[in-house]
Symmetry: C2
Subunit: 194 residues, 2 copies
Amino acid sequence: MTPTGEKPRANPRVERTKAHVLAVARELLLEAGPLDLTYTAISNRSGVTRQTLYRHWPTREALLAQLVLTSPNVAYPQANVDPQRVITEFLVSLRGGMSDPPTAAALMTLAAQADRDPASSQALSDIATDRRLALNTLLSKTGIEVDAADFAVLCGPIIYRLLVARTPVTDEFIRWVVTGWTTRLDRRQRDGDS
Amino acid sequence: MTPTGEKPRANPRVERTKAHVLAVARELLLEAGPLDLTYTAISNRSGVTRQTLYRHWPTREALLAQLVLTSPNVAYPQANVDPQRVITEFLVSLRGGMSDPPTAAALMTLAAQADRDPASSQALSDIATDRRLALNTLLSKTGIEVDAADFAVLCGPIIYRLLVARTPVTDEFIRWVVTGWTTRLDRRQRDGDS
């Protein structure tokens, strides 16, 4: 599916094209919803050929995953020696990303088709790993590392409230989730899943 | 949209028809995915007219919500005086429900369209409230009541792992989530959102 011999490089023109396509895909997700986010629709609106779209994103799932990871709303946290501060800022940034409707729709579309479609399932798993590694990079000065179980306990309540229960996530709620987790850092009693 | 004068009652024939339609909708969700779960497709496969479908479920979102709430995989917990036991069994039952692919697809489809579609957003919020009230009914002998923030901290990590990060939820992980929550029952320091 991906033509060889013309690999995308960090070339400013290519990056501009990709950013333009992602912006168009966000517009279409807002206007028409995930069902109508086809490569034909994106190509018509963006003026970028379907062939080029397939070169950058061999599958629609790859495009949806990149929409999630390049959410425009994210005020990205800084590394710090205080783990509580880093994690709180990370969850505030997660709230910002998930409050962006195209980002939320892209993530939930992958989740809606994941049991039937291995590419969606893999994209979701990659997003979760990517975000957890990003958090651990920010935490590198603290000596604390967040494993997959910790990450679920921290991010799960935020994502559940925003995207499933459809209730606001307050700063207070984020603080409550973070303090709950940090107070039990010392007495881990669970399976060491990765 | 809903014809009046012939309201659905708890009539065995009507209940059989509804159960048959829900079973057909589950099959279609598994085979073709949420995009193709149309009333035409359900009507063709089930032999139930579109008019009858609209009478029972005025919107596709109402049908998706009922698919979530009638998940076949759920070993429903019993009321008990031990809150830790009730909550653990409730989360085990949640894991069972979310491990059923049509149930997961129905929930995530609602979530994927919720920012664009108020009916989906309302259905999700109703599902969350319904499940929280069900848990509180099971907890009624314990004197403990779970509010929306508690419910997010308990269910969010399970749903996140299964449907977003796509990793298994072990009994050990459930126990860890429950003990983390029960140990902080006494020192609540968050906003009393409902």
